[in-house]
């Protein structure tokens, strides 16, 4: 473990003097890695969801079915590209590109590891470090929405349009919550650069320091990537396929790619912001040298994979939310809570410079006691009113709730018992009926 974090901006100067060929190598590697991770993710998702549904999932092509998504991808590329007649030519072509490119660009600022030496050149495992790195990620995600929105519009049919309208509203709403949760991290790290944020977590991950921010980020990143249970833009039960209904072949593959890359991107961002980026988790971090060289790649991708597993888990578990519930969650819960939390964090940051920890704890305790006391003073909620009358409905084929079957008339009952006692006189049929009852 490296006890002294490097000064802010250290990695930026380290990366800034990379020769051109090294930058090119990094670009190619990041690109290839993302393509591979996407293929892996599709397989991973199908396998995990399969296990959750008591079935094996794809296990036929290659070891453990790993080549299944490659085969699917090839098949997709060779399919016919169906072009709707009512499309807008230029925009229909532009939309998938606009949705894929920002997803890849966001990876240029993700720190994958600390300082290493590549072919004798000292550099960091990061394509580039800009002073506003985390904002670059936000900018990429906000440009990526154009892909979805324009795809729906350019298709020239109603379902995609509805899907893209939903998507626009959804991503704009959840981007606010996302931004609010990031501000807390930035306040503590004192920098917008992703590498600096990771360095600042040397003493403790921000998931412990800023749990509320982490929760808000985790919820809104699912909303931002249009994944279940927030996959309303492509709700197949309501909108056929949503914004990509009219897309086929490679254009559809690009949307697919963008969705998965976005998932991986936001998982990586969450790792960077809250889980200490490439730093080893606690018991391992006590071993010296575990945070140096190429080993941190392992920790980074391990944590990212954990987030991706949660994505898949959510999809396998939760039903899709209704649109108004989803919007209410974003606007009435996440954003106000995010704002309040931000005020609290900012106030604590100011107080830290002026008060001692003991004073802050005392003040916080007093505030807590007052809050709890006030909560006790609140009157109890009235029990919900019972409906006095059960919903008896005429002319509707349901049994009434207060159904009372009248007892059989005595005459008949007597006849039945008589028939049972004298089966010969009652005839064969009644005997059969009685014996049949015995069978039951």
């Amino acid at each position: 473990m490296n006890p002294v974090p490097p000064p802010p901006g250290y990695y930026q100067t380290l990366i800034a003097d990379d020769p051109f060929w090294l930058t090119l190598i990094k670009v190619v590697i990041v690109f290839a890695a993302l393509m591979l991770v996407t293929l892996f993710m599709i397989w991973f998702e199908r396998r995990v969801v399969g296990r959750m549904q008591q079935r094996p999932g794809p296990n036929w092509n290659g070891p453990f079915g790993l080549l299944q998504s490659l085969a699917d991808g090839l098949k997709l590329a060779f399919k016919e590209d169906v072009l709707p007649a009512a499309r807008d030519r230029a925009v229909f072509f532009l939309a998938p590109v606009l949705s894929v490119v920002p997803a890849f660009v966001a990876w240029s600022v993700i720190p994958l590891g600390p300082e290493v030496s590549i072919f004798g050149e000292a550099t960091a495992l990061q394509l580039t470090d800009v002073p506003v790195g985390i904002l670059v990620v936000l900018a990429c995600s906000s440009v990526g929405v154009y892909g979805i929105v324009l795809a729906g519009w350019a298709s020239g049919s109603p379902y995609p349009l509805l899907g893209s309208l939903r998507s626009a509203a959804q991503v704009i709403s959840y981007e606010l919550a996302l931004g609010l949760s990031i501000i807390g991290v930035v306040l503590y790290a004192g920098s917008l650069s992703t590498a600096d944020i990771v360095s600042a977590q040397q003493t403790g991950w921000y998931i412990w320091l800023l749990p509320v921010s982490f929760l808000i980020f985790a919820v809104s990143m699912v909303g931002e990537t249009n994944r279940a249970p927030f996959d309303l833009p492509e709700a197949e039960s309501e909108l056929v396929g949503g914004f990509h209904t009219e897309y086929s072949s490679l254009k559809f593959a690009l949307f697919f790619l963008a969705e998965y890359v976005n998932m991986v991107t936001l998982s990586a961002v969450a790792t960077t912001l809250f889980l200490g980026g490439w730093m080893a988790p606690w018991p391992l971090s006590l071993i010296p040298g575990v945070n140096e060289g190429w080993l941190p790649l392992l920790w980074f991708f391990g944590k990212t994979l954990a987030f991706l597993f949660v994505y898949v888990w959510l999809r396998g578990t939760l039903p899709r939310q209704r649109y108004d519930q989803f919007m209410r969650l974003g606007w009435k819960l996440l954003i106000p809570v995010g704002l309040l939390w931000l005020v609290l964090v900012a106030a604590l940051r100011v107080l830290r410079t002026e008060l001692t920890t003991g004073q802050i704890l005392i003040a916080g305790g007093v505030a807590l006691v007052v809050l709890v006391g006030a909560a006790l003073l609140l009157p109890d909620q009235a029990p919900p009113e019972e409906d006095p009358e059960p919903p008896v409905v005429a002319d509707y084929p349901v049994p009434p709730l207060d159904l009372a079957v009248p007892p059989t008339p005595k005459r008949r009952r007597r006849a039945v018992t008589a028939a049972r006692e004298e089966p010969e006189q009652g005839g064969e049929t009644v005997t059969a009926g009685a014996s049949r009852e015995g069978d039951r």
Partner: protein, 316 residues
């Protein structure tokens, strides 16, 4: 991706006013693009296309800001203008519909001429102002205190917004909040407030209200006086179908209905005979229809009955 990556990493480290090669390359790529975006916005017929051209201009400007040592401004430009404001524009334009186009009839007389004159005048003013700064003074605000060494001048920007001009910023934010609230009030003022109905209320409304008539009824060809599970089904001859009797539902316990079965058997003559054979055929030990659960279809039961009838005839 590589272009943006290079641009981001090629943010110049120089502090002076001279232009590096990377900066020049970026400028000569993005400058024409921004210009083309502006022209395209003006000349395209489709409103959404116009908006997209404008998006291109804004993106180009954002990257240019980044290159000129203002990364925060550049990225904020992309987030705020491209990501939020233009997205709202596109949102509204999409609502308008794809084929909606502006009518070309001139409403105001001489409007085009006036617009041309004013536009050229505004352009002239802007060019004059910018040209003046090109020659009058060198670059200001670059160097160690502002550039990448200062971590993207976010700190300076923050202190000037939240310390020096805090009153102005707070007032303008109040103004914007009031404007947003006002818009909401205007949008919702005329409408009566709809009471939030609970799920229970909605169920009651569905069952008792004006829509209560819309439910699924028995299919055509089914003769039934009731659809209740508490009412046993009748076979075509009017006898009780044993398959419709259940051990679980108290109302249709076999013991309760034995009397009915007996009625049919003893009083109604041939029909009762048929029913009796059906029962007997089923009860013969489950030779054909299983007979253990009573879940066979009416058809099974009738065929079993036929079988039973032949049997009983032979015994007779």
């Amino acid at each position: 991706m590589s272009a943006a990556g290079l641009v981001l990493s090629a943010a110049p480290v120089t502090g002076g006013g001279e232009m590096t090669t990377g900066e020049a390359v970026v400028f000569w790529i993005l400058g024409p693009l921004a210009l083309a975006g502006g022209l395209g916005m003006i000349f395209s017929r489709n409103a959404v296309h116009s908006a997209l051209w404008l998006v291109m201009t804004m993106l180009s400007l954002g990257v240019l800001y980044v290159v000129q040592q203002a990364p925060f401004l550049g990225v904020t430009q992309i987030i705020v203008y491209t990501g939020a404001i233009m997205m709202l524009f596109v949102f509204v334009l999409m609502m308008v519909g794809r084929d909606a186009s502006d009518s070309l009839v001139e409403v105001l007389r001489g409007q085009r001429l006036a617009a041309a004159v004013l536009g050229v005048g505004l352009g002239g003013l802007a060019v004059a102002a910018v040209a003046d700064t090109l020659t009058a003074g060198g670059p200001v605000g670059l160097g160690p205190g502002y550039g990448p060494e200062a971590r993207g001048n976010v700190v300076l920007l923050g202190s000037s917004i939240f310390l020096d001009y805090v009153l102005a910023v707070a007032l303008s934010s109040f103004l914007l909040t009031a404007a947003a609230l006002g818009a909401l009030v205007y949008a919702f003022a005329g409408r009566p407030r709809r009471a939030a109905s609970s799920q229970r209320a909605r169920v009651t409304e569905r069952l008792r209200g004006p829509l209560s008539g819309y439910g699924s009824r028995s299919g055509p060809g089914v003769f039934a006086t009731a659809d209740s599970v508490a009412t046993p089904a009748l076979l075509p001859d009017g006898s009780v179908a044993p398959a419709s009797l259940s051990n679980i539902i108290e109302a249709t316990r076999r013991e309760r209905l034995d009397a009915d079965i007996a009625d049919v058997q003893s009083e109604s003559g041939p029909a009762g005979d048929v029913d009796a054979r059906a029962l007997r055929g089923d009860g013969d030990g489950g030779g054909e229809s299983g007979g253990d659960s009573g879940a066979g279809s009416t058809h099974d039961r009738l065929s079993a009955g036929d079988h039973g009838s032949t049997e009983s005839e032979t015994t007779r």
